[in-house]
């Protein structure tokens, strides 16, 4: 099959998938719907994490703080009587401002230091949300006005997830994305070639914070209750990152694969075992780190398929114009770019 054939097949698959997802509330029991909702939440977080972690190569372990601020902001504003959309808009603005404010000092750190520094952000927000009792309800958590919003929240979460996937792949295809790739490969060289690295890094963090904040708003609207440990805990902080890493960062299909795989594992296995979830995340992280830092999509089994899919991408055309061979993976997976 040629390139256009694959492309057509892809569009048909997408359309069928979208139809099934749209019709889901009328087809199945609500249990599956809740599962798809959570899948959309994790997908949004993993794909928006991938903008910073995959494209730009900075491991932002504190990505869930944006989710948490979005969720808390929306909950507080909903309680003040605002509608859902204004509440989400305002809290997303707050999140973006927060991301901009912390990005400047944090991007002075590099590599593992940056990862640890952003990780510290989570505990900071956890402490803030338990201590500012008047605003957040303290460690007891906060409830939003009750109501059954599961169907609209389901659609909204799918919309945000689809938007995030589109945003991620759009960034990967334009000039801005190329600048991010160059930062990932060699920041010094990128700066020497005139990429405003500090500005772009800060802008990227702000961009990646927006979807996370939006999905936080949708999440709290649906579940109507959050506590500091639920949104600033380790499980919500690390599972999207583990998912993105397991699937493979820097390519849209990687996080998608990782999210579907791990949420399935969670659903089938972890609901049977009520404890030691973090241990299992830890063991998965160690195994991925030791044996396949490029993720599932770069394992020998899946590589040829990815290569074929990738060749239909526009970003591929950019590289091919210069007569360079195309690689199946982002350079983070071990390809030589230079």
């Amino acid at each position: 099959m040629n390139d256009s054939g694959y492309r057509a097949l892809g569009f048909v698959g997408l359309a069928v998938g979208a139809l099934i997802l749209a019709a889901l509330p009328w087809l199945v029991v609500s249990y599956v719907m809740v599962w798809v909702f959570l899948l959309a939440v994790y997908l949004t977080l993993a794909v928006s994490y991938d903008i910073v972690g995959g494209h730009m190569g900075y491991m932002n372990l504190g990505h869930s703080t944006f989710f948490g601020i979005g969720a808390y902001g929306t909950a507080i504003l909903l309680n003040k009587g605002l509608g859902l959309l204004p509440a989400m808009a305002v809290s997303t603005g707050v999140t973006a401002a927060f991301a901009a404010a912390v990005s400047y000092p944090l991007f002075r750190l590099k590599g593992a230091y940056f990862a640890l520094g952003t990780f510290g952000l989570i505990s900071l927000m956890g402490v803030l949300s338990s201590n500012l009792r008047d605003l957040t309800g303290g460690s007891g958590g906060i409830s939003t006005p009750p109501g059954n919003y599961s169907i609209p929240a389901y659609y909204l979460s799918l919309l945000v997830a689809a938007g995030t996937v589109a945003l991620n792949s759009w960034i990967a295809r334009n000039r801005f994305g190329l600048a991010l790739f160059s930062i990932r490969e060699d920041e010094e060289v990128a700066r020497a070639f005139g990429v405003p690295t500090t500005l772009y890094k800060c802008a990227t963090l702000v961009i990646s914070s927006i979807p996370a904040s939006l999905i936080g708003g949708v999440y709290v609207w649906n579940v109507t209750y959050i506590s500091p440990s639920a949104v600033f805990g380790l499980e919500i902080a690390l599972s999207p990152i583990v998912m993105a890493m397991l699937g493979g960062t820097g390519a849209i299909l990687g996080p998608l694969l990782g999210v579907v795989f791990l949420t399935l594992v969670q659903e089938l296995l972890w609901t049977q075992v009520p404890y030691l979830h973090l241990t299992m995340y830890g063991v998965i992280m160690v195994l991925v780190g030791l044996f396949m830092p490029g993720g599932l999509i770069r394992t020998p089994l899946l590589r040829p398929i990815m290569l074929r899919l990738r060749s239909t991408r526009q970003i591929g055309a950019l590289f091919r114009k210069n007569g360079k061979p195309l690689s199946a993976s982002g350079p983070a997976a071990g390809e030589e770019v230079r």
Partner: protein, 290 residues
Amino acid sequence: MTADLVQLLAGGILLGGIYGLAAFGLSVSFGVLNVLNLAHGEFLMLGSLLSYCAFVQFGMNPFVSAVLVIPVFTTMGLLFFLVLIRPLGEKPHHELLVASILVTLGASLAIEDLTAFFWERPVTGIDYSLAPFEVGGVVISSLRLLILLFICVLAAGLQVYLRRTFMGRAIRAITQCREGAKVVGIPISGVSALTFGLGVALAASAGVFYVTLFTATPTMGIPLTVKYLCVVVLGGLGSLVGSVLGGLILGLAEALTAYYAGAEWSPCIAFVLLLTILIIRPQGLFGTET
């Protein structure tokens, strides 16, 4: 009021000494290995809990266990290094960062969760005290003074080790220039393994004092690692004096925050300090690049 303040400063200095000792372990192993061990805080936690067990079961004096944990945890650190860290060294450069974060953070999570699962009582503290004495109206706990003395002796011993012995010089040489050290014939992998073990043992030893003075929980490891980062950024990489000074600043800042703003705010101060330093003086207080 002055008595309060002195007590407060004494507490802060002790805490700072503990942080400095443990953070130096992290910074020296990062300097040699180029792998930031995010599981470092877990070893302080394990050292605390182990010495607590030894105290409860056998009535072991914390000062004895502070010495005894050093060989035990050096061995543990060596094992950790051989199983998890050394395979990372074979990876190409651009995979090293991601792989090292995943492996050490994953190990950290697993250790923490498993310990919390098997540890029945979540909060513990060693109930060990010596008769306090009074100087000019200020009550000074002799236990705290003794611990401070012990930390000073340990730090001085380390400094001598780093300056005078072959191994100490090798460690400093690798931190300064890896290639150069290789050229002059320093066995990199052997020194790396030993440094890692040493760093882990320092953290565990600091953990014994931690549990004597404060309460220890199985989940305190990851927040502690963030505090070490703050200390290392404050004090500069691979410098013992810098680490101890950075630790003192952090310890005093935490004690003062707990006193003036309330104990619930002291966990934030490390991060606030880190952000402030990064804005004002990104190269660290004492001028070295991190």
